[in-house]
Assembly symmetry: C2
Homo-oligomer: 245 residues x 2
């Protein structure tokens, strides 16, 4: 069944008004007819079945039928902060970590980022949010991952008070036997966790020193060198495996 | 350091002769000079440092210096059999599961595969092998994942005697509490494991019945629906997490 994400102000007395791309999708792509049933997710993770009532000029109305009991969200709030890189890679990571249950994504300019803020960053917030919506609909999530504007490394470090766990993935730890990832994931349950993944060239020593001073836990992701696009998928898969299976 | 995979017959009395694409890469892309040091991996997972000796017309010679002690391979032999699909998706999966340590990849035509054998399959063995080589060099693997020719579902099931564990990822198990994946992965160590991931539309009931009759273990990959491209990454990440961290 098709699933659409709406804001709470689109729902009024049991009627949902859908506009913009979703309206286009319903009318022109899916060519839905009156009385078709879809699923509607609101901002506070309610999921409803809803029946198509009528098409207006620039919108379509559905009436809510039933509230469904669904519980597919990861029981931990994971923020992936990724070294700023090419848009195609960012898009791939966003698509996959949405499926894998992440809550927040922050692109971060680090020393070795090839793409720079205020220079060659080509960052289309709208397009990235569309990718999140599509991936959420397909994976049957009830919550939309939040895409944050790109920031600098130091700005990220200025805003870490809210997190219960601070983690960064560090390649040189790959063969380190004191790897703590497996021992800390079980304690992530119902917590807010920030995981930083470095850019293509890795963190600089200066960045690693800052992270260590701030109490970040460094974790390795196995003995093979993972690409920047693969590391966040490994992290999210490991967290889901540990907490959800 | 650049890493090149060679066959054992390219090595003779401590001299390695590199040809074809790798020769082109060394000469024209990297523009290496005499005495440059690279890493050479042979077919039986030896890794050597080697020094550039001389360029010939269609090849370049290196002399082996030292044998390195490296141990980055996953200690279990994982075969991912994936529902036949579009080449771009196959390529993405191959790139990622190479990084994540898989040993074999088999594309399999299943009932719901959109791409069909002998019809619209567009399968370039050479190109896929190049992707494996590149991903192996980048992730510092010492063994090349083997890419098998696409086969039919029944052909796959005719050749399962060699495996110690037979597993398939089944979406409808997502919310099933009797999920066995977490309890069986620890026993994969030093074993040969076949994991089948269905095509876009999932397995048919008939396929699932066959798998069950043959003793395959069905496993779920968490409560969210994963795309065909994401499921193999989840599986490989979970196995690495459980066995290597």
């Amino acid at each position: 069944m098709q699933r659409y994400f709406v804001s709470n102000r689109q729902i009024n007395k049991g009627i949902v008004e859908i506009v913009d791309q979703d309206f286009h999708h319903i009318k022109n792509v899916m060519r839905m007819k009156i009385a078709v049933i879809v699923e509607i997710c609101d901002e506070i993770q309610n999921v409803y079945t809803a029946k198509l009532l009528e098409f207006k000029k620039n919108s379509v109305l559905f009436s809510l039928i039933d509230k469904l009991e669904v519980d597919v969200e990861l029981k931990t709030d994971i923020t992936i902060a990724l070294g700023l890189t090419r848009t195609s890679k960012i898009e791939e990571v966003i698509r996959r970590i949405t499926e894998l249950g992440a809550s927040n994504f922050i692109p971060v300019e680090m020393n070795r980022s090839v793409v720079r803020l205020n220079k060659n960053v080509n960052y289309k917030q709208n397009r990235l949010e569309m990718i999140v919506k599509e991936a959420s609909e397909q994976s049957k999530r009830t919550k939309l991952m939040k895409i944050h504007e790109p920031i600098k490394f130091n700005q990220l470090l200025d805003n870490i008070d809210d997190y219960d766990y601070l983690v960064y993935a560090y390649e040189d730890l790959a063969k380190n036997s004191k790897n703590k990832f497996k021992s800390i994931i079980p304690s992530f349950k119902n917590k807010k966790v920030l995981v930083i993944v470095g850019p293509e060239g890795g963190f600089t020593t200066e960045e690693v020193d800052k992270l260590d001073r701030l109490g970040f836990i460094s974790v390795g992701l196995g003995p093979r060198i993972l690409r920047l696009e693969t590391a966040p998928l490994y992290i999210m898969s490991a967290i889901s495996y540990e907490l959800e299976l």
